[in-house]
């Protein structure tokens, strides 16, 4: 059978361009629908803006995104790779899987529920996200800076020696407040502060000192440190109610082998099993939009017709972007990944925050927003055993690259243990544009917004996927469970005992 003619003879129900997370989740959502789906991606890898790379792939990617001007085709720019001189220890390129989307996923996230109900979760290995730390600059030149663990459960608060008894009571009262923050009388207390920064509410209503405020803000992972009370309470509520849901003493998980990229791949796999045709290294060269169908000429030369087209849209830029530094470290950084209580799983990810102002200004402009570090141990599969990967993020500015490098240095000093100071072996820097996250639909073409920059998976990403699914399914979708499938035939369960 001539594949090329099969492509052009079929009137496809759906063509999806790009294998980023929303497009891949769309494929997953349609994987039992029986629709004719052609899923293409101009890259020769899965994941688009949420992909994960070996060092070789990173080199190629950086070459394509090194421009410093805002791009009209990509959310990424200013990409560069540097390796410190005279440093050895970097392993071969395929020993690494560096994630463009290293978000952690809270246990309560809708994404996890959908992965479970669609059965796709079975193909993903999740690691626990363990401790959250705050960087504390040294109080005197002779002392090293330290990382202080943030307590977020009652038992954490009990065990910590970092805060006073009175401050502990204050923190407990706040945690209890948040658990029920949407009921009366709590709502009466915070509604007046809804759009005001959370720090103000903490200071004025809870009389929290600056240190406790930074603990709470860190838990929100707020990129500008000025998250509103309304959004901040929602985020902390999600964190607290996620705590312990999937296992003792952790609130979030991280997919092994590159984070969101793995979820995109698993979703595409499900799409393929469901009958969708996949073509990597193939994009759209030309397009003609008719009344009831679109004619596409692909870069491979194939011509296809489809009822509808779904693709990633836009390059963002309407909201503040981020600068990111991915650093490979020559040490396992064990102190970051210790299980916190008896019976808790060994975490694969830790979060470290540099609150606004904690990084000493070296005569340059003050750094006016926090820096977050997502630390990944080799358990994530992203680097060889004995090493770790740090993903540093801050709001982008003319100085973000420098800022991130300095944060990295300070962190390595703080982590300097009995053995040698950990060294960085490799740096990948890039900037990513932010977006207001709205999907676009024009006639038969549906556009997914660019990825969210949130460091914890933002469930708002799932909205456009559902919208897209509704567009495809139309009337037939009404009354059907979205993203809920039974196991496919051949799946074995416990009933074999009866045989």
């Amino acid at each position: 059978m001539d594949f090329s003619s099969e492509l052009s003879d079929t009137l496809w129900d759906v063509v999806i361009c790009g294998t980023g997370l929303p497009q891949s989740l769309l494929a997953l959502s349609l994987s039992r629908s029986g629709k004719n789906i052609l899923h293409i991606d101009p890259n020769d890898y899965y994941g688009s803006a949420e992909a994960a790379f070996s060092l070789q792939e990173a080199d190629d990617w950086v070459a394509r995104h090194s421009t410093t001007a805002a791009s009209s085709t990509s959310v990424f720019k200013s990409a560069s790779i540097t390796k410190p001189e005279n440093v050895v220890g970097l392993s071969f390129p395929r020993a690494y899987t560096l994630a463009l989307a290293p978000q952690l996923i809270h246990a309560r996230s809708e994404l996890l529920s959908q992965l479970v109900s669609s059965r796709a979760y079975r193909q993903v290995e999740f690691l626990a996200v363990g401790s959250f730390f705050v960087f504390k600059p040294s109080s005197s030149p002779s002392l090293a800076p330290t990382l202080v663990r943030i307590p977020s459960t009652r038992e954490d608060v009990f065990s910590t020696t970092a805060i006073s008894a009175k401050a502990k009571r204050g923190l407990m009262k706040f945690l209890k407040f948040v658990v029920d923050y949407n009921s009366s009388p709590q709502t009466e207390s915070w509604h007046p502060y809804a759009d005001v920064p959370l720090v103000d509410f903490l200071r004025e209503h809870f009389k929290m000192d600056a240190e406790l405020q930074t603990y709470i803000i860190t838990l929100t992972l707020s990129l500008d440190g000025r998250i509103s009370t309304k959004d901040g309470l929602a985020t902390i509520h999600r964190h607290l109610s996620s705590m312990g849901m999937l296992g003792p003493n952790f609130a979030a998980v991280y997919p092994k082998w590159g984070g969101i990229s793995e979820i995109a791949q698993v979703s595409c796999r499900a799409g393929a099993v469901g009958g969708a045709v996949y073509m990597l290294g193939n994009g759209i060269k030309e397009m003609t939009v008719g009344e009831n169908e679109i004619s596409l000429e692909l870069t491979s030369g194939d011509k296809v017709r489809t009822r509808r087209l779904f693709r990633g849209e836009g390059t963002g830029g309407d909201e503040t972007g981020i600068g990111r530094l991915v650093a490979i470290i020559s040490s396992p950084l064990k102190s970051l990944f210790e299980p916190t209580i008896e019976g808790a799983p060994k975490p694969g990810v830790a979060v470290i925050a540099f609150p606004t102002g904690s990084l000493a200004s070296a005569g340059e402009a003050d750094i006016d927003c926090p820096i977050y570090v997502l630390a990944h141990s080799s358990d994530t599969g992203e680097c060889p055993i004995g090493q770790s990967v740090l993903y540093l993020t801050t709001l982008s500015s003319s100085d973000s690259k420098n800022t991130l490098h300095r944060a990295l240095e300070s962190m390595l000093i703080a982590l300097d243990g009995e053995q040698q100071r950990p060294e960085s072996l490799y740096h990948l820097y890039y900037e990513q544009a932010g977006s207001s996250m709205r999907s676009q639909q024009e006639d038969l073409i549906f556009g997914f917004p660019p990825p969210s920059l949130s460091l914890s998976f933002d469930d708002a990403t799932l909205g456009p996927v559902r919208e897209a699914w509704n567009v495809v399914m139309g009337e037939a979708g009404v009354g059907t469970d979205y993203m809920a499938f039974p196991d496919r035939e051949g799946y074995v369960d416990d009933d074999e005992m009866y045989d």
């Binding site: 079929t10 004719n36 009652r154 009990f158 009571r169 008896e342 019976g343 009933d495 005992m497 009866y498």
Partner: protein, 420 residues
């Protein structure tokens, strides 16, 4: 490939078919179960103690571990089958009372079954087994018997594990395990028996790790520890290790009655073992009070914490005729400590003004203080007590009867009324 409206069709339809399918599958399961049950009971009633029947009990128990009759059948099958027969004169066991008890739980049919059973596995016995005297052959056969028994017991213990994972609170499984463990003491050399009991401690820890408020598991753990400490298993005190274990459990979840309770049980023994002198005992009490105070600081609404604090307070206050942590405390010492505790608890009110248990504690301890000093509350105290009682009436109107009783018994009616 194209299937118009396929998905709605697919999903709605499949679920309907599945329900009927499920019903049929269930009926099939029930039929198979009944068949299995009938088989086992029939064989047993005819005294067929064979390996095949043994396998049948395995299958049946996997489906229904609560079926205790079948556990008993399995015990009989083991004794008449896989386990070595204790031979006259070459017994390696210490005749412990528990073993003879387990022997008597087997019915007379077991004795007769060994003569009528058709396919018992051969005993690993040498020709000289059964005669008294200590020839080399005797020792070899004893060793073989012990090894055989050890393997059988281990295999049986392993059999119960998946059952326990599914039904962690099923008495019959635990009872069977205990029976096996006691057989280990009876039939195996001390070192081997001890190893098995140590593994049991590991299992108890795992169960507690999965559900640390499973009081069966805590009780079981205490029993296992007691055995490991016993002379029969060549043991010594594990009080310190167990004390540390309660610490770990508390840090995992403060709200754990069983952990705090265990801790309180271990303390007197621990202090004795350390041969703690008065200074050491005082230091120990200080540390425990500090610990529980830190806990109450973050969890004042938690009853298990107040129970433990109460235990420590009663140590100070109810010292006549009871072993206490600090028997050498003077009256002055006791009063100082009680007063300090009341002060510290009062501090909690700064931030927790509507936690019922705090007011109850303050009320109780103030009365205890007066009792200690053999006096009645003074006017200032009476006003305070009335205030706390009034607060309790507001916080817990359901127990108004109880507060009314308290009001009357402590003669505070007038003071409480004055606070209206």
């Amino acid at each position: 490939m194209a299937d118009q409206g396929g998905s709605q069709h697919g999903i709605a339809r499949t679920s309907r078919v599945r329900t009927e399918e499920q019903k049929l599958l269930e009926q099939e399961k029930i039929r198979k179960y009944r068949e299995l049950e009938d088989q086992v009971r029939s064989h047993v009633s005819q005294n067929h103690y064979t390996p095949e029947v043994f396998q049948l009990t395995s299958r049946l128990l996997k489906l229904n571990p609560e079926y205790y009759t079948i556990w008993n059948d399995r015990r009989r099958l083991l004794i008449s089958g896989l386990l070595s027969k204790p031979s006259v004169g070459s017994s390696p066991s210490r005749a412990s009372p528990s073993s003879s008890q387990s022997a008597t739980t087997t019915t007379p049919s077991a004795a007769s079954s060994s003569s009528s059973s058709t396919a018992t596995p051969p005993r690993p016995a040498s020709p000289t087994a059964g005669t008294s005297g200590t020839t080399a052959d005797d020792e070899v056969s004893t060793q073989q018997q012990q090894e055989n028994d050890r393997d059988v017991l281990k295999s049986e213990l392993n059999f119960t594990i998946p059952l326990l994972l599914e039904s962690p609170k099923c008495y019959w499984i635990w009872s069977y395990r205990l029976w096996l463990l006691n057989l280990a003491i009876e039939r195996l050399p001390t070192a081997a028996a001890r190893r098995i009991w140590e593994e049991e401690l590991g299992l108890a820890s795992k169960m507690l790790s999965k559900d640390q408020r499973n009081f069966h598991a805590w009780g079981y753990r205490r029993h296992v520890v007691a055995q490991l400490e016993s002379a029969e298993l060549g043991g010594s005190s594990m009080a310190e290790a167990e004390f540390e274990y309660t610490d770990k459990m508390i840090r995992k979840d403060l709200s754990n009655f069983s952990a705090w309770h265990s801790r309180s049980k271990i303390i007197p023994r621990l202090l004795d073992e350390w041969k703690a002198d008065d200074a050491a005992r005082r230091a120990f009490l200080d540390k425990e009070l500090g610990l529980i105070r830190d806990a109450l600081n973050v969890g004042p609404e938690d009853q298990s914490l107040w129970y433990y604090h109460r235990y420590l307070m009663l140590n100070l206050v109810n010292f006549v005729g009871h072993p206490t942590i600090t028997p050498a405390f003077t009256q002055e010492d006791r009063v100082t400590y009680v007063v300090r505790e009341i002060e510290d608890i009062r501090e909690l009110l700064e931030d927790y003004d509507d936690v019922q248990l705090i007011y109850e504690a303050l009320f109780d301890y103030t009365l205890h203080l007066c009792q200690l000093e053999e006096r009645q509350p003074d006017p200032e105290e009476r006003v305070e007590l009335a205030g706390w009682l009034k607060k309790l009436m507001v916080l817990d109107p359901m127990r108004s009867g109880r507060w009314a009783d308290l009001e009357r018994d402590t003669g505070l009616v007038a003071e409480v009324a004055a606070l209206e």
